[in-house]
Symmetry: C2
Subunit: 246 residues, 2 copies
């Protein structure tokens, strides 16, 4: 059994670059960590190869490299590194469904991962990531998604062009507005719907605002200006998930 | 105008200790950063003094120390330090209201801050923090709360004893259960209610589970095991906030 023990090993140095967005963009690859995430990636056919420590009980039928714990520590982003890291290929779907959540300039990786997790939970079809959002393949995003990044399509694109396309195809475009709009639980959501969530700091951009068909209001105490972006997105998706179309 | 410029200044060294939980516990004081938070603390009468950089336009009528930007950088937890830091006194309320959210061993500071923000938004009376939860005065908690830590009472205590006290006083104790229970939107919540949210890793502890009166289920896709703890808490509080008692 050959074990890579050198931190200077060329394969390890190459893979470690995937901890930076620049190299993930160039290679279209990214790293994931831990048994649970690797299994989700494997089932979704996005896993390319794995790296494991000698004591890991391997059940995955895929190209495998054994590495020392020191090497694992170098590749890992966790305080307590796990025993397995997976190398995955990115996937940007071409098509999309009827229930869409659109994220405009969202910056917090925890929020993005949490929204992906909620979108999968509440049966949304596709998460649409504006091209100024935080990187989908940031390790914090992937961890916060709890593996759901492999269970719902996430499509990255220019939101202005995309929302125009949606409107040409008879989607209704919704957004939250703290200043008013129709109360969330009374909103008659269309079957083909796109809900825009704005950035943590400044909400929906002005360019996108012009394209919104309806504003939604989540009733709340006046002393609060707004909810956390992931919470607002999740509450809306929760309400939408109650609707049953024929 | 006297300006503290030395990082070795004894007052600065003392205050900097408040960035560690141990010293916050000893002194019953904590630091907050930025205009918005300081204003909330001031309005709630929890502000003791402030430290500002020379260019800060001070509107607060309170003991003020002027410090150099370098000293501010030492005290700050932010990449881009703000121009004002506030020293606050802790507050642990004795009484509590009818709508309570109880947090059992919650560990993520972002989740705690987000739940406090949602609890204030959805008109809960008190957040009850189990004594094994993450420290309320962690700077990440305070930032994630968006100042709502000063707009809703947060009481720290032993949850087992507290839930016993609640039951003696005819509160109904609810918790989420991914395996079943009554569907959230059909749950007849009592006027005197306590909702327990479990830890991110392992849910509600077994000792507390025995004290639960009713389990709530948030309907979701089977491929997801659970929601993020702050999202689950917020969705439940959102549903409860729709109820109007006479």
């Amino acid at each position: 059994m050959e074990i890579i023990t050198s931190l200077q090993n060329s394969k390890i140095k190459e893979l470690n670059k995937l901890n930076e967005k620049k190299y993930r963009d160039e290679s279209n690859m990214f790293l994931i960590e831990g048994d649970h995430l690797v299994e989700e990636a494997y089932n979704k056919n996005q896993l390319v190869e794995i790296l494991i420590t000698p004591d890991f009980e391997n059940k995955f039928d895929i190209t495998t490299t054994i590495i020392s714990e020191e090497v694992m520590k170098k590749l890992s982003n966790m305080k307590s590194p796990s025993k397995i890291i997976g190398v995955c290929k990115k996937f940007n779907p071409l098509s999309y469904g009827n229930r869409l959540i659109l994220l405009d300039n969202l910056q917090d990786p925890g929020n993005l991962g949490t929204i992906i997790r909620s979108a999968a939970s509440f049966n949304f079809d596709t998460v649409i990531l504006g091209d100024t959002c935080v990187d989908l393949y940031n390790d914090k995003v992937i961890r916060a998604s709890e593996g759901m990044i492999f269970n719902i399509d996430v499509k990255r694109c220019n939101l202005i062009n995309f929302v125009q396309e949606l409107k040409d195809n008879n989607y209704i475009v919704y957004a939250t507005d703290v200043n008013g709009g129709s109360t969330l639980s009374d909103t008659p959501f269309d079957k083909k719907m796109a809900i825009i969530i704005g950035s943590e700091g400044s909400g929906v951009s002005n360019e996108l605002k012009r394209l919104i068909d309806a504003n939604i209001y989540i009733p709340m105490n006046k002393k609060c200006e707004s909810l956390n972006a992931a919470v607002a997105a999740s509450i809306i998706m929760y309400e939408v998930s109650k609707i049953d179309y024929e």
